[in-house]
C-alpha cells in the first residue's frame, strides 16, 4: 500500500493543525449552506414555503416531495417523475466518459512521451477547441448528426459529448504526465517494451489522481448538460436534465419548490456517487510505488 509514501514530509505542530482544521471546517460551511437550503425546503410541505421562512427548519417534516419527484411528478403529459430518465442519462454518460477519458490518456501519453515535430501545435489546436461556445455549434452539429444518421439517438449524444470532451481530457493527462519522469519510459523502451505495453504497465498505474479529476469533470459536465441533451435527443432518449428542467421550469403553473429541490438533489446523486467512489484513488504515492516496482 502507498501509506508509507503518503507519510507527510511537511510536518505541522498541534497549534497549526488546529488552525487548519478550523479553516477547513469554515469552508465546509460555505459549501454546505446552499445544500442546507435545498434539503430543508425539500422536506417541507409547499404551504410552509409559500408562507415564508425559507431558511427555517420544517415545522412539519415530510418526504412526499421526494416521492413525488421520483415517481409521480409531472414531466410531460405523463406523470412519471424523474425515474425513467435516469436510464437514458446513464446510457449516454457512461460510454462518453469512458471513451473520452481513455482517448485523453492516450493523447496525453503521446504528447509527452512520444513527441514529434508539430506536437505542440496539435495540442494547441485540441486545447483551443475547449473554448468554442456551444450555442454556436448547435445548428451545424444538428446538420452533421442528421447526415451521419445519428440525429435523435443515444450514440449521437455520446458522439457530441466526446467531441467537446477530448480537449479537456487531453489537457488534464498531458499536464499530469509532464511531471512523470521520462527516464522511466526511456528505460522501458530500451528493454524493448512497445507503445501500448509502456502505457499499460508504467503510465496507467500512476494515473489515479488525474483520472479522478478527468472523470469527475467529464461525468459532471455530460450528466448536467442541458443544451445538447434537449436538442439532439428524441422523445425516447431525453436525458435526466431535460426532465429536471421540465419539472422546474413550468412557465405558468404553480411552482412546487419542495419537489424541485428534491428532484435536483436526486439528479445529483449519481455524480456524488462517482465523486465518493473515484475519490478513493486520490491516494498519494502510487507513482513512488511504480518507481520501485
Amino acid at each position: 500500500m502507498a501509506s508509507n509514501a503518503s507519510s507527510q514530509v511537511v510536518r505541522t505542530g498541534a497549534g497549526s493543525r488546529f488552525v487548519i482544521y478550523t479553516l477547513l471546517a469554515i469552508f465546509c460551511l460555505y459549501y454546505l449552506l446552499p445544500l442546507y437550503v435545498m434539503v430543508v425546503n425539500s422536506l417541507k410541505p409547499l404551504s410552509e414555503i409559500q408562507a415564508g421562512g425559507m431558511m427555517s427548519l420544517p415545522s412539519e417534516w415530510t418526504i412526499a416531495p421526494w416521492a413525488s419527484a421520483w415517481s409521480t411528478a409531472q414531466i410531460g403529459v405523463a406523470a412519471t417523475g424523474l425515474k425513467p430518465y435516469f436510464l437514458n442519462s446513464i446510457l449516454m454518460v457512461v460510454p462518453a466518459v469512458a471513451i473520452s477519458t481513455v482517448l485523453g490518456a492516450l493523447n496525453g501519453y503521446v504528447l509527452t512521451k512520444w513527441r514529434f515535430r508539430g506536437d505542440t501545435i496539435v495540442f494547441g489546436l485540441l486545447l483551443f477547441g475547449c473554448f468554442i461556445p456551444f450555442q454556436m455549434v448547435l445548428i451545424p452539429m444538428a446538420r452533421m448528426l442528421g447526415l451521419m444518421g445519428l440525429a435523435g439517438t443515444v450514440p449521437g449524444l455520446v458522439f457530441v459529448h466526446l467531441v467537446y470532451g477530448i480537449g479537456f481530457s487531453t489537457l488534464y493527462f498531458r499536464n499530469y504526465y509532464q511531471q512523470f519522469p521520462t527516464e522511466l519510459v526511456r528505460a522501458a523502451m530500451i528493454d524493448g517494451a512497445g507503445f501500448f505495453t509502456i502505457f499499460r504497465r508504467i503510465m496507467l498505474p500512476s494515473s489515479g489522481p488525474i483520472a479522478v479529476v478527468c472523470i469527475i469533470w467529464q461525468f459532471t459536465n455530460i450528466w448536467n448538460d442541458f443544451l445538447f441533451g434537449a436538442s439532439f435527443s428524441d422523445f425516447d432518449s431525453q436525458p435526466m436534465t431535460v426532465a429536471l428542467n421540465n419539472l422546474v421550469q413550468s412557465s405558468t403553473g404553480v411552482k412546487e419548490y419542495n419537489v424541485h429541490f428534491a428532484g435536483a438533489i436526486m439528479a445529483a446523486l449519481p455524480t456524488l456517487l462517482v465523486y465518493v467512489v473515484a475519490g478513493r484513488y486520490f491516494v498519494r504515492g502510487l507513482m513512488a510505488g511504480s518507481v520501485k516496482g
Binding site: 409559500q50 408562507a51 415564508g52 409531472q74 414531466i75 410531460g76 403529459v77 405523463a78 406523470a79 448547435l138 445548428i139 451545424p140 452539429m141 444538428a142 446538420r143 452533421m144 448528426l145 442528421g146 447526415l147 440525429a151 435523435g152 443544451l227 434537449a230 436538442s231 439532439f232 428524441d234 422523445f235 425516447d236 431525453q238 431535460v242 428542467n245 421540465n246 419539472l247 422546474v248 421550469q249 413550468s250 412557465s251 405558468t252 403553473g253 404553480v254 411552482k255 412546487e256
Partner: protein, 417 residues
C-alpha cells in the same frame, strides 16, 4: 470555406424539405412546454382523445423561458431533418416557420370544421399565413388583468379603480397604510406586461396599434410614449424595493398572503389564487387594468403542424380536429385559466373570472378592441419585442429617465428590424 458552403447548402435543403423520420406512421410526436401539473393534465385529454382513434402520442416536452427553449430545440431538430409532427408555438414564431415553408397546409380541415367562423380575426392573423391555415389555436390568454386583495381594499375603503388617477390614489392609500401597493417581479417580461397595459390606457387602442404593431416611429417617439414611461416611474414608486428578479408567482403570493394589494399580471395568475384556496369575488378581485376596460391584449398558444409530404397526414388532420373540438377547448382552458380560442364554446364549466374573460374576448373581438400583446410576442417579432424589453426594463430599474427611454426605444426598434 468550401466545407461551410457545403454545409450551408445542406442546411438550406433541410429547412426546405422536411421529412419526419422519427415518429412512426400513425403516431404523432408533439413538442411542447406544458409541463406543470394542470397544463399537462389538460393536455392528457388530447392524448386520450387521439389514442381513442388509434393514434399514438409521443411526448417531447422541453420547458423553459416561456417556450424559447423549445424553439431552440425545434431549430436543431428541423436542421437535423428530424422535425416533430406538431409543435406548440406562439405568435410570430408561427409566421417565421411558415415563411421557411416548413408548415403543413390545414385548409381542408379548416374548411370542413368551419374554423373561419369561430376563431377571432385577430387570432387568425397568426394561425394563417398567406391565406393558408398553418396552426390550430388552443387558447387565448389575456394579459391586461389586475389581481387585487379584496380584504385590503375593503379595510381601506378603496373601490375598484377604473381610471389611472383612481388607481394612483388607491395605490397611495395602500402605501400609506404600510402595505405594499403593487406586488411585482422585476423580470423583463413582467415589466413589459405592465407596460402593455399602461400604453393601452395612456394612448388608447389606436396609439397601441401604431406604436407596437405598426412600429410607427412617430408614435414610438411621441409625448404620449413619454407619458407612458412616466407612469411606469409612478408604478415603480409603489413597488417594494425587493422586487428585482422575483418570480411572478411569488408576487402573486404576496397578494394572496395579504402583504400586497395589487398585481398586474395575465390570467394565468388565477391558478395561484385558486391553488391557495381563495375564491374569486370573495377573497380576491380580477378586473381589467384601469383605462383598458374595453380592450383585451392577448397571447395565444397554437399547435403548428410540420410538413410531412404534400398534404397533412391523416393523424395530423385528426390532431388538428381534436385540438379545435369544443370539448377539448373547454376542458383545457378551465384548467389553464385562459379562455378558448373558439368563441362558440359554452362557458358553463368556467368560474367567475373565466366567464368574464370569455365575455370580454367576444366583445373585444367584435368591436375591434382585441390586440396582440407586445410583452408576449403577439404584436411584433421576437427581435423587436426583446429590443423593447431592454428599454422598458432599463427604464423601470432607473437606468435612465423617460426622455432618454423614448429615444432609446426608437433607436432600439430601428436596430432590431
Amino acid at each position: 470555406m468550401k466545407f461551410s458552403r457545403k454545409l450551408a447548402a445542406a442546411t438550406c435543403l433541410a429547412a426546405m424539405t422536411i421529412s419526419a423520420t422519427a415518429a412512426r406512421a400513425g403516431d404523432v410526436e408533439v413538442l411542447h412546454w406544458w409541463t406543470s401539473g394542470g397544463e399537462a393534465a389538460a393536455l392528457n385529454v388530447l392524448k386520450k382523445d387521439l389514442e381513442g382513434q388509434g393514434i399514438g402520442w409521443q411526448d417531447m416536452p422541453v420547458a423553459g423561458g416561456g417556450g424559447t427553449q423549445a424553439m431552440t430545440v425545434l431549430r436543431a431538430r428541423v436542421t437535423a431533418g428530424n422535425a416533430p409532427t406538431a409543435v406548440q408555438m406562439l405568435g410570430f414564431d408561427i409566421t417565421d416557420w411558415a415563411k421557411q415553408g416548413a408548415l403543413a397546409n390545414l385548409n381542408d380541415v379548416a374548411a370542413e370544421e368551419g374554423w373561419d367562423g369561430v376563431v377571432p380575426e385577430a387570432l387568425q392573423k397568426f394561425s394563417k399565413y398567406e391565406g393558408q391555415w398553418v396552426a390550430a389555436p388552443v387558447n387565448v390568454h389575456s394579459t391586461n388583468w389586475v389581481w387585487a386583495n379584496k380584504g385590503i381594499l375593503d379595510d381601506l375603503g378603496i373601490a375598484q379603480p377604473t381610471t389611472w388617477d383612481e388607481l394612483v390614489a388607491a395605490m397611495q392609500k395602500v402605501k400609506d397604510s404600510g402595505k405594499v401597493a403593487v406586488a411585482h417581479g422585476g423580470q423583463a417580461w413582467q415589466d413589459a406586461t405592465i407596460f402593455d397595459a399602461v400604453v393601452m390606457a395612456t394612448g388608447g387602442p389606436d396609439f397601441y396599434k401604431s406604436a407596437f404593431i405598426d412600429l410607427d416611429t412617430e408614435a414610438l417617439g411621441s409625448d404620449t410614449m413619454k407619458e407612458a414611461f412616466d407612469r411606469m416611474t409612478v408604478i415603480r414608486s409603489f413597488v417594494d424595493d425587493n422586487f428585482s428578479g422575483r418570480d411572478w408567482n411569488l408576487a402573486s403570493a404576496m397578494v394572496i398572503n395579504d402583504e400586497a394589494a395589487f398585481q398586474f399580471m395575465g390570467d394565468w395568475a388565477k391558478g395561484e389564487f385558486l391553488n391557495a384556496g381563495k375564491t374569486p369575488g370573495e377573497d380576491f378581485l380580477c378586473f381589467r387594468f384601469p383605462g383598458t376596460q374595453e380592450q383585451v391584449t392577448f397571447n395565444s398558444d397554437q399547435f403548428a403542424l410540420f410538413k410531412q409530404g404534400d398534404k397533412p397526414s391523416a393523424e395530423q388532420a385528426a390532431l388538428a380536429k381534436a385540438i379545435m373540438s369544443p370539448s377539448f377547448q373547454s376542458a383545457f382552458n378551465v384548467v389553464k385559466g385562459s379562455v378558448p380560442a373558439r368563441v362558440d364554446v359554452p362557458d358553463t364549466d368556467f368560474d367567475a373570472c373565466g366567464k368574464q374573460g370569455m365575455k370580454d374576448l367576444a366583445a373585444a373581438s367584435s368591436s375591434g378592441n382585441l390586440f396582440g400583446s407586445m410583452a408576449h410576442g403577439h404584436a411584433n417579432p421576437a427581435s423587436v419585442k426583446n429590443a423593447m424589453y431592454d428599454v422598458i426594463t432599463a427604464h423601470f430599474n432607473g437606468e435612465y429617465d423617460s426622455e432618454t427611454a423614448v429615444s432609446e426605444l426608437v433607436s432600439a426598434v430601428e436596430l432590431a428590424q
